[in-house]
């Protein structure tokens, strides 16, 4: 049986989920879908009470909490006997300076929280600052390709036997990638795909993120474009207005795209969710590979509650 962790960038979501459990105050159909998945997760864990809080964001530096919110979350974890883990996204200089402030705080309070990295710049920062906490390889850094649009059967038809085996193997399990991780004292790896039951590497333990399997992400965010003027629509500045806290998109696939690709393989008619700068598939089953000992319930797509907050803005 696995340990349970809750992951979100929002203080209120974590607190609400801990306090209210399955009676979480849902706002839309996606919330209700996610809560039903949470029930599935609870059935697969050793305890129905989480042991960890993964706080922060894997994809977007503008969704990272501010220092005050981070401190409030650490306090909450202490009160509730939860282990705190910081999740960090791909970074520009803006995000790197924010993470540096967090590390300085951790060092100041002699904390050794685990940190999930999704940018090797963060690993460099951790090493430079001689931060003693353990590092977890985030889901963006094992770049193994997978695709929710295709069924297993179609994949097996498309690839040769050896090709399918290749396609279904994690890059981070290679001897070379493993050697690099061990040399950098990284012994835990995140992944989020349940389409393939990946073979693990016994040198590592794995976090399995459920139910979101990210499909694609990027620095340009559909919701971030909403309040921009036309001339600077795609500017990569730091003026995010957090529209992703207000709206979420469901993408039902496809309308005009042919249901078969050029080689004739059928593409699955399925549904994805866009939240912020990232598009996700929602997995139905907990198909975990070897050596998974933590299930991370991705609560970041749950609507943020208005009532409970740490009382601080995001970037302070």
């Amino acid at each position: 049986m696995c340990e349970l962790a809750l992951y979100s960038s929002n203080y209120g979501v974590i607190v609400n989920l801990i306090k209210q459990k399955l009676s979480y105050n849902t706002i839309n159909g996606i919330d209700r879908l996610l809560i039903s998945k949470y029930e599935l997760v609870l059935q697969s864990c050793s305890s129905r009470y989480p042991q960890y809080v993964y706080f922060g964001n894997s994809f977007c530096q503008y969704k990272m909490p501010g220092l005050q919110e981070l401190k409030a979350m650490i306090d909450f974890c202490e009160q509730e006997d939860l282990k705190f883990v910081l999740v960090t996204p791909p970074l520009s200089a803006y995000g790197a300076s924010l993470c540096k402030v967090f590390l300085e705080h951790f060092i100041a309070i002699n904390a050794e929280f685990e940190i999930v990295i999704n940018d090797f710049g963060m690993l460099k920062l951790i090493n430079d600052m001689k931060y003693p906490g353990k590092v977890i390889l985030g889901r963006l850094l094992d770049k193994t390709v997978r695709d929710y649009r295709i069924t297993d059967l179609e994949e097996q038809n498309y690839y040769t036997e050896k090709g399918f085996d290749y396609f279904s193997s994690l890059a981070s399990t290679s001897d070379s990638f493993s050697g690099f991780l061990i040399e950098n004292n990284i012994t835990r790896i995140e992944y989020d795909c349940s389409q393939h039951i990946y073979k693990g590497n016994g040198l590592f333990r794995y976090d399995f993120i459920f139910p979101t399997e990210y499909i694609t992400t990027g620095r340009i965010c559909l919701f971030g474009l909403l309040e921009r003027d036309d001339a600077s629509l795609f500017d990569l500045d730091n003026s995010c207005t957090k529209q992703c806290n207000k709206v979420i998109q469901v993408l039902s696939h496809p309308i005009s795209y042919p249901k078969r690709n050029l080689l004739g393989e059928r593409i699955r008619n399925t549904t994805a969710i866009r939240c912020g700068n990232t598009v996700y598939n929602i997995n139905n089953e907990l198909n975990m590979g070897e050596y998974v000992d933590r299930i991370i319930f991705d609560a970041d797509l749950l609507s943020p509650p208005n009532v409970i907050s740490a009382g601080h803005g995001f970037h302070q």
């Binding site: 706002i27 970074l91 520009s92 200089a93 995000g95 790197a96 940018d119 090797f120 710049g121 963060m122 460099k124 430079d128 094992d142 770049k143 193994t144 390709v145 997978r146 695709d147 649009r149 295709i150 498309y158 690839y159 050896k162 090709g163 085996d165 290749y166 396609f167 890059a171 290679s174 001897d175 070379s176 990638f177 690099f180 499909i215 694609t216 992400t217 620095r219 340009i220 036309d230 001339a231 600077s232 629509l233 500017d235 990569l236 500045d237 207000k246 709206v247 979420i248 998109q249 469901v250 039902s252 696939h253 496809p254 309308i255 795209y257 690709n261 050029l262 080689l263 393989e265 943020p304």
Partner: protein, 351 residues
């Protein structure tokens, strides 16, 4: 580390052009290419992982590098050697792409064979994305220099420094990075060479983080039935959402619809006006033309445009003059430079 990036024309920047056949070499060099990059997919790779009977000109099932169509790759060692030797005779460096997003353990037996082969013929530069392969090359092939692919998504100075733990020669900036960020990273790391896209195709997502399998169509080009849900009980302005969504989608497909797929103007991404700001940065030493799968005519045109732009920039043209050159060149894209829909390096080029 060799930071002498001066080209024969003494412009100060090299033009890195894609090549997939020895037959393209003279034309591209004449057009102004001063470095080449190519993929190489030997037959033993296909025998190991690809079903020969269904390989077409479309793409390999298991690609050895990011551009996995047969026509984008050199397919024999003999031809690769010819390209390398002919390039060397002209003083042109050759970079080999081993930049698949990731390589599982099964790949390494063949990667070793390829690295042995290219070492024997003299190729010294490889473009890599997978950190496992970087580690492998650094430990086993000390004479091979690594170029960190754009797929590694280096968007901060710390990440650039991180890659110095390998046999690092150069870092390629990703497509989505602004001028200010790029210049800051370059200035903070004078001992690293950098390269950026000057002309090439665009995708709204970060290609280094996208997990979609292009064999089944790029996700960014899919169209959907969709629905927006409120997350805070507030009303959603569906008109705004639809307009924004259209803009978002068209980043990846914003070519004029009457232009054929092979045309150079198709969905062009450009950072020519940035040259006015970076011409003096010696370690930002190479500008990249994307387009390994394109025809020779398209590659030639793009190299010529980059070459003219570099000459303009080195003669002191400011960003407005360079934008005027871009508008003249890409006249079919009537709103180019008036919006940032074609810009790789958006934001503050004029500052």
């Amino acid at each position: 580390m060799d930071l002498n990036c001066t080209t024969k024309k003494e412009i100060g920047k090299k033009i890195l052009a894609p090549i997939s056949s020895i037959n393209e070499l003279d034309s591209l060099a004449k057009a102004g290419a001063s470095e080449f990059y190519c993929g190489y997919v030997p037959e033993y790779w296909n025998e190991a992982f690809n079903g020969i009977e269904i390989i077409s000109d479309y793409r390999y099932q298991i690609g050895l590098n990011r551009k996995d169509s047969p026509k984008a790759n050199v397919r024999s060692l003999a031809e690769l050697e010819k390209i390398y030797v002919a390039s060397k005779q002209r003083g042109i460096d050759l970079f080999l792409t081993l930049n698949a997003l990731s390589y599982p353990n099964q790949a390494y037996k063949y990667l070793r064979m390829i690295l042995d082969e290219i070492s024997d013929i003299g190729v010294r530069n490889v473009i890599v994305s997978d950190v496992g392969l970087m580690y492998f090359i650094s430990n086993n092939y000390p004479s091979i220099n690594l170029t960190v692919s754009c797929l590694a998504q280096v968007t901060n100075s710390l990440a650039a420094q991180f890659y110095k733990s390998f046999n690092l020669k150069r870092i390629v900036f990703p497509r989505h990075i602004n001028a200010k960020e790029m210049i800051e990273i370059v200035k903070c790391n004078p001992d690293i060479e950098f390269e950026f896209f000057i002309l090439g195709g665009k995708c709204i997502y970060d290609d280094g983080y996208c997990r979609c399998n292009h064999d089944f169509g790029p996700f960014c080009l899919d169209t959907f039935n969709d629905e927006f849900f409120s997350r805070n009980h507030s009303m959603i302005n569906h008109n705004d959402m639809r307009t924004t969504e259209k803009d978002f989608y068209r980043w990846s497909v914003n070519y004029p619809i009457n232009i054929p797929i092979e045309d150079i103007y198709r969905n062009i991404g450009c950072s020519i006006c940035l040259l006015s700001r970076i011409i003096e940065l010696n370690n930002l030493c190479s500008v990249k033309i994307a387009g390994r799968g394109k025809s020779l005519a398209v590659k030639q045109s793009l190299v010529k445009i980059a070459s003219e732009a570099l000459e303009l920039a080195s003669s002191g043209a400011d960003f407005l003059r360079l934008q005027s050159f871009v508008k003249q060149t890409f006249e079919f894209n009537s709103d180019i430079c008036d919006t940032d829909r074609y810009c790789f390096t958006r934001g503050d080029v004029s500052v």
